[in-house]
Structures are given as structure tokens and as C-alpha cells.
């Protein structure tokens, strides 16, 4: 065995955020390595750094014994280090066959060769063989945008393996694939890769997949590798259990029992049934049922990419509803213009805050009442300041001068301003310092006591479990648990 990839002391930061620190990895030929870690732990950044998509801040990267630091994506790919993508990057308006034809053409030609005809019989035969190997021949003439998600994922990976790479990096091969399909697709994939004797490194969230297919695990936490060990050993590792697997995940269960039963009247403020939503041609939500009873606080819990934000945007009218109903009380929201929602009393806090940069904190909070011309605005503002005195303190400061946590509070206050009937909060505790997150929970607690109807989306319910009357767990675009 010899080393395919050697990475030493790799560093990268984006502003103040450290995305990679002191990364040391040696990949031996023939290994299958799994990369695990929470959202934002630096897994995809690692792949982007090694493949030349991002310039590293420091360190060395050697591939097959030669330094590839500073080479372009194109050059590194040509050396035989290829990758696939978390969101499949296929050419959406071309057929599966043409996608692979292009991949083979680029892999086999260079310079003047690029001017020779693409469609050759021998090349077509190689494409057909590749289609068969990845078991997507049935979809040969279907264009990319019309493919089922799983097939698109396989096509994405098939395109990455056209060069017969020495090392293949797969970014979440099963994300976006339904739970029923995931093993079938991984079996096809791992079989095909074994035939080509490819060394594989893949990022994965799903521990069932990791335990089943991986020899060795690299666990990332906040840009660092906290564990590098054979799979079984890594699963027992304390750091991995704490920071990756989320040991605290079930801690909420006990308190949850106490919370249930507190739910009030049977009336539903928000009722969503059988909701299908696609972004472009990609189906994101599949048959979602969810309801928020009046005066209750509900949670929509699921990891990144599970469909939480898509759900929120669909309710807010930013995405069109393919199938199903969305109702606010008696109002059919799917038939209501997007901007009417604020007038109806829905307040929305987007995950990424989105404060208008030219305005002050207070002006941002007042935006909805200026638009809806709601009366009793001052009263409401005073109530909000009572709930969040910190916002009153920095109300005259410009939005861009606020810290991330402060911006989050302003976005929250803005949602409260018009959210008299329903509040939709997309990850209020995400991406802010623990002390802010804790404060956020206190505010939610106060809000709950006031009897507001709230739907909170979070990637885990560690902090808010005790507040929730009802929890919907979303996975791969469907509600898998409702408790």
C-alpha cells in the first residue's frame, strides 16, 4: 500500500471563522474513508481545499507523491483526483447520455482534440457501459432536470468517475435521497467503485451508511479533525459521541413528557397537508403534514438540507405549492399573494436574518407596519421592547454595525411586529454565541406564556425541547415523526 493523498497542516479561515485548522490526513490506496461531523464542521471545505476550488491559507497537499497546492481544479482533476457534489451538479437540460458523453469527451480530449467530433461510436459504447455499471441505463434519454433525485445523484457520481480517478471524494452521496432508496443506491455505487478499484473518501451524515460501508472515519469538529480511527473504534470515541453523534439529542425526551398536555384548544392556526414543493426541478418537500394548534409552540426539527427552510418559504409564498393545502385558519394561503401574509398576521424570521443594511435596527423592526399600515404599532413596539429590552438599547444603530446575535434579535423583533396570529422562526438559535442562544430561549419562553402560536425550526431540539407542545421531525423532505 502507498499513500494516494497526504495533507499536512492544512489551514483555512473565512474572516474570523476558522474553517480548517491543523488538518493532517494520509489516505492509503484502496481505502474507503468516511468523513463525519456536524453542519459547518468543515467537511466540504476540506474537499474544496484539496481539489483546488478554494486556496488554502497554509499547509501542504500531495497527491500521488506530487504537490498539487495552487493548481487549478482543472489541473487537479486531470491528475486523477475527482469529486462529486452534495447537490448534484449535472447539466439539467441535457439527457443522461449527453451528460456522460460530455464527461467522456472532456476526459479523453485536449487541445486540438477538442475540435474532433464528440459523438463517436466507440465513445458511445463506453458511455453505455458506464450507464450499465451505475444502473441508470433506463434513464438514458431523460434530461437532468426530470430525473428522480437518487438517479441524479448517481449520475453526478458517474460523471465524477469517468476519468477512473485514483481518488474519488464524494460529498454526501445519500443526501436528498429517500430513506427507502439509500441502501440500494449505495450498493450500486460501492459495487461500481470496487470494480474500478477506486480509493474513496466520502462525507456522510447518515451513521447507518457510515457503519455499513466505511473502513475508517475522520470526524470533523469546528474545522479540526478530532478523531481518525477505524469505524467501530470511532463510533465509541467520546469526542465523536459528544460533538458528532450528539449524545445530548435524547436529553430532551424526559422534559418533553412534561410539556405535552399543555397544548390548548383544538383549533389550528396553521394547517398544512400533503404539501409537495420543488425548487426548480428538484423535489424538496414530499407530502408534508403539519399543523400548529392555536396558542401552541411547535418545533420543526431536522438537519440542514432536510427541508425546513423550504417549508418556511413555501408557507410564506416565496415558493409555489405543487400539491397539497396550506391554510391559516379559514384562509387558503396557496391562493393568497405573498405580501398579504404579513397583513394576515404572519410574522417570519428568516434563518439568515436579512436586515436591510441601510436602515437602523428600529426601522427594520418597523418595516412590516409601514407596509401593512397596521394600527396600534407603537403599542406593539413597546410590548416587543418589553420582551426584548436589548433591542431597545441598540435600536438607533445601523443594521450593519450589529453583531450576528444582535441582528438575530432584530429579525425576531421584526417578525413579532406583524406576527399577531402566527410566528414562523427559522433557526433562531443557529449561528450565534451560546449566551445569545440562551437568551433566545428565554424570550421564546416568555412568548409561550403570552399564548402566541409559534413554529420554530431548528436542527436539534436540545435547547428548546421543554418549550415545545408538539415536535415534527423532518428528514429528507418528509415528516418522519410527530410527537
Amino acid at each position: 500500500m502507498s499513500a494516494v493523498l497526504e495533507v499536512h497542516d492544512l489551514e483555512k479561515s473565512f474572516g474570523a471563522v476558522v474553517a480548517a485548522h491543523d488538518i493532517n490526513v494520509v489516505v492509503e490506496e484502496g481505502e474507503t474513508i468516511g468523513v463525519i461531523g456536524a453542519n459547518g464542521a468543515g467537511k466540504t471545505t476540506f474537499v474544496n481545499l484539496v481539489t483546488g476550488h478554494l486556496p488554502p491559507g497554509g499547509g501542504t497537499v500531495e497527491f500521488m507523491g506530487r504537490s498539487i497546492l495552487g493548481l487549478s481544479v482543472r489541473a487537479i482533476t486531470r491528475l486523477g483526483l475527482c469529486r462529486s457534489f452534495q447537490v448534484p451538479q449535472v447539466f439539467l437540460s441535457e439527457t443522461v447520455f449527453d451528460n456522460l458523453m460530455m464527461a467522456f469527451g472532456v476526459a479523453e480530449e485536449d487541445g486540438a482534440g477538442l475540435l474532433t467530433p464528440l459523438m463517436e461510436e466507440e465513445r458511445a459504447a463506453r458511455v453505455e457501459a458506464h450507464l450499465a455499471r451505475y444502473q441508470i441505463a433506463d434513464y438514458r434519454d431523460v434530461i437532468g432536470s426530470a430525473l428522480p433525485q437518487g438517479i441524479r445523484k448517481l449520475l453526478d457520481i458517474a460523471m465524477a468517475t469517468v476519468r477512473k480517478p485514483k481518488l474519488l471524494m464524494l460529498d454526501e452521496p445519500t443526501s436528498g435521497i429517500s430513506a427507502e432508496e439509500k441502501f440500494a443506491i449505495m450498493d450500486i455505487l460501492m459495487q461500481a467503485l470496487k470494480e474500478e478499484r477506486t480509493t474513496v473518501l466520502f462525507i456522510e451524515h447518515d451513521m447507518e451508511i457510515v457503519e455499513r460501508y466505511v473502513d475508517r472515519v475522520l470526524a470533523f469538529y469546528q474545522g479540526e479533525i478530532i478523531c481518525d480511527a477505524p469505524t467501530a473504534q470511532a463510533m465509541r470515541d467520546d469526542g465523536v459521541r459528544e460533538y458528532v453523534l450528539g449524545r445530548g439529542h435524547d436529553a430532551g425526551a424526559e422534559t418533553r413528557a412534561a410539556a405535552s398536555g399543555r397544548s390548548s384548544s383544538g383549533e389550528e392556526t396553521l394547517a398544512v397537508s400533503d404539501l409537495d414543493v420543488s425548487i426548480g426541478a428538484t423535489p424538496i418537500l414530499r407530502g408534508v403534514h403539519l399543523s400548529v394548534p392555536s396558542g401552541s409552540m411547535c418545533g420543526l426539527i431536522g438537519r440542514n438540507g432536510a427541508g425546513k427552510t423550504t417549508f418556511m418559504r413555501a408557507v410564506m409564498g416565496a415558493l409555489s405549492v405543487q400539491r397539497g393545502t396550506v391554510r391559516l385558519g379559514d384562509v387558503d394561503l396557496a391562493a393568497t399573494p405573498a405580501h398579504r401574509r404579513a397583513h394576515l398576521g404572519i410574522g417570519f424570521m428568516p434563518e439568515d436574518r436579512r436586515l436591510v443594511p441601510e436602515l437602523t435596527a428600529e426601522e427594520n423592526v418597523l418595516l412590516p407596519v409601514w407596509a401593512t399600515r397596521a394600527d396600534n404599532a407603537l403599542e406593539r413596539l413597546r410590548w416587543i421592547y418589553g420582551l426584548m429590552p436589548e433591542v431597545e438599547e441598540f435600536r438607533h444603530r445601523g443594521a450593519t454595525s450589529l453583531s450576528g446575535g444582535q441582528q438575530k434579535f432584530v429579525a425576531f423583533a421584526r417578525a413579532l411586529m406583524c406576527g399577531t396570529r402566527l410566528l414562523l422562526l427559522d433557526e433562531p438559535g443557529e449561528g450565534i454565541a451560546p449566551i445569545f442562544a440562551q437568551r433566545m430561549v428565554e424570550i421564546l419562553d416568555d412568548l409561550k406564556k403570552e399564548g402566541a402560536s409559534v413554529l420554530v425550526a431548528e436542527s436539534n431540539d436540545v435547547h428548546i425541547a421543554r418549550l415545545l407542545d408538539r415536535t415534527f421531525v423532518i428528514e429528507r423532505g418528509s415528516i418522519v415523526d410527530d410527537r
Binding site: Q89, E94, D98, M101, V106, L114, M159
Partner: protein, 330 residues
């Protein structure tokens, strides 16, 4: 290669034959319209090469004008009137310019690409319109065209030029068609939709755009050179000003990007509508042109060629073609 089964090559060749025969039955002024259609069609063909990658230039009058003025200046200062030499020089100078500017333009996409092209074309316009040496706004009149030792005059020259231009354009169209079948030529959706993926397949979007830009520049120069010889005069307002670039984009959208034949059909339609409108309704010819363009944008977004394609896919057995056509219609 399947030369014999390539419908486009047959179509081009039949088209050439038809044009050459047509020349015997139509009046002189119509011969001129045909030659100009070939010239403008060539420029639109260059835009097709870019448009397939999602790029539009609002300044291809730059290359059209460059080709035309190369011919004009050769006639005025060097006394060279040979069609072979002047057209070759027009093409080459435009190609060199496109190669140079390409290093810059290949980094831009979308509206910035379109506008930067426009800025460069307006720079050329500014120079041509103001410099006496280059004819300023009056432009330059050309001496009669010669073909090696053959020097026809009057109507005979018009016919000779038409035959010459038709054969050359046939050659150009065949070359572009062959290019479109190559790996680089197929690199269209890849550039338009996903340059990151293209990079991870092992080629860079910028290189692809540069190559395509040079091809479109060469075609622009060719069209300009032929137009200069046809009109016998070059001037900035009718060859380099921004509405000229707009007209090329007009022809490109009228034609659709389906096939190399399309821009020539589109250019002929354009010339016919324009001539007819100008002749019959001189007061509102622009209104008719604008209305046509709006109608195309609203009701035939894939251009005239989509009519041909729709008919073909209705009858043809190719399931893949039909699927794609259906997808495009949706």
C-alpha cells in the same frame, strides 16, 4: 463520420445550390439583399455560438465594423480590391482583436459580458466617427471589387460577388457545423449551466468561452467584410453604432439557436421584412421591426428554427429528440 447522413450538410449544400439558381431569376436589387443576408447571417451565426453558452454580446458590430473597415481601408490606402485578400484580412484582423479582448471578456458573464462588448464597440464607433483619416461620419467608398484577374463591372460585379459570397458562406457554415459537433462545440450547456462541474470534469469554462469568442469574432469580421464589398461603402452609423449590434441580436433571436442554417434564414427574413416595411410603410418600418421582435420574444422564444424542429419531432421516430423537444416546449 457520417457525412452522408448529416441532414444539415445536405441542407446547406442544397441551400447553396438553390441560392445560386435563384440568382438567375431574381432582379439585381434582390441579389444584393441575398448577399447582405449572408453577411448578417454570418454575424448572427457567431452570436449563436455564444448564445448556446448563455452569453449575449450587445456589441458585435465591433467585429462587423472591424472587418468592414479593414476592407475599406485596404481599398482606400493600399488600392487592394481583391475579394480573396480583403475578406481574408477582414476575418484575420477581427479574429486577432477577438483573441486579444477575449483574455479580458472570458472572465465576464451575463449582463456584464453584454455591456463590456457594447462599450468596446462604442469605442470603435467613437474613433471612426471622429477621425478624418478613417473617413469620419461620411465613411469610405470602396473601389470596384476584383477577383484575382477577373474584374467585372456593374450588375455583373453584383452577381459575381453574390456567387463568391455564397460559396464562402457555405464553407464557413460547414466549418461552424463541424465545430458544433466537436467536443468544444458541445460544451454549451456545460458553460451555461455549470462551470464548476465543467472544471471538475477537467476543462475550464473561461478557456471554452475564449475559444468561442474568437470564433464569433472571426464570423463577425467575415460578415463585415462581405457587407462592405456588397454595399461598396463603409460608415460608422450603419455599421458600428449600437443599434447595428441590436440588429444582430435581433436576427439571432429571430432565428433561434437550433442549427447553423437558422441564422441565414433569420437574416433573410430580417432583410425581407425590413426592405418590405421600408418600401411599403416608410413611416413605420421600425415599428414593424420592433413589433416583430416583440412577437418573437413573446410567442416564439426559440426562434423560427423551433418551427422546423417542431415539425420534425412530430413525425420523426427519435424518442430522445422528442423528449427534449417536449421539454423545451414546456
Amino acid at each position: 463520420m457520417t457525412w452522408r447522413r448529416d441532414k444539415t450538410l445536405w441542407g446547406l449544400t442544397l441551400g447553396l445550390a438553390a441560392l445560386l439558381l435563384l440568382n438567375f431569376v431574381v432582379p439585381d436589387w434582390f441579389t444584393n439583399i441575398l448577399t447582405l443576408s449572408l453577411a448578417r447571417g454570418s454575424v448572427a451565426l457567431g452570436l449563436l455560438v455564444l448564445w448556446r453558452c448563455g452569453l449575449i454580446s450587445f456589441g458585435h458590430a465591433l467585429y462587423f465594423g472591424f472587418g468592414a473597415y479593414t476592407v475599406g481601408l485596404m481599398s482606400r490606402y493600399l488600392g487592394i480590391t481583391d475579394a480573396f485578400l480583403t475578406i481574408a484580412c477582414g476575418v484575420v484582423t477581427a479574429g486577432v482583436l477577438a483573441y486579444g479582448l477575449g483574455f479580458l471578456l472570458r472572465q465576464y458573464r451575463g449582463i456584464f459580458f453584454a455591456l463590456l462588448n457594447m462599450a468596446f464597440s462604442m469605442i470603435l464607433y467613437g474613433v471612426l466617427a471622429k477621425l478624418e483619416e478613417l473617413g469620419s461620419t461620411d465613411g469610405i467608398s470602396l473601389e470596384a471589387t476584383t477577383y484575382l484577374w477577373y474584374a467585372p463591372l456593374g450588375a455583373e460585379n453584383k452577381t459575381a460577388l453574390f456567387v463568391f459570397a455564397a460559396i464562402l458562406t457555405w464553407g464557413v457554415a460547414v466549418l461552424v457545423h463541424l465545430y458544433l459537433r466537436s467536443t468544444l462545440g458541445h460544451m454549451t450547456t456545460a458553460v451555461r449551466e455549470n462551470e464548476i462541474r465543467l472544471g471538475y470534469l477537467g476543462y475550464s469554462g473561461e478557456r471554452a468561452v475564449h475559444a468561442k469568442y474568437v470564433i464569433s469574432g472571426l464570423l463577425g469580421g467575415f460578415g463585415g467584410a462581405v457587407a462592405a464589398l456588397t454595399i461598396g461603402h463603409v460608415d460608422p452609423d450603419s455599421m458600428v453604432y449600437w443599434p447595428v449590434s441590436g440588429d444582430f441580436v435581433f436576427i439571432a433571436i429571430l432565428s433561434g439557436t437550433g442549427n447553423v442554417v437558422a441564422p441565414f434564414i433569420g437574416a433573410l427574413m430580417y432583410e425581407l421584412i425590413r426592405t418590405y416595411a421600408f418600401d411599403q410603410f416608410p413611416g413605420i418600418w421600425q415599428l414593424i421591426m420592433g413589433g416583430t421582435l416583440l412577437a418573437i420574444i413573446m410567442f416564439l422564444p426559440n426562434g423560427l428554427w423551433s418551427l422546423v424542429e417542431r415539425r420534425r419531432s412530430r413525425g420523426g421516430p427519435g424518442s430522445a429528440d422528442r423528449l427534449q423537444a417536449r421539454e423545451e416546449e414546456a
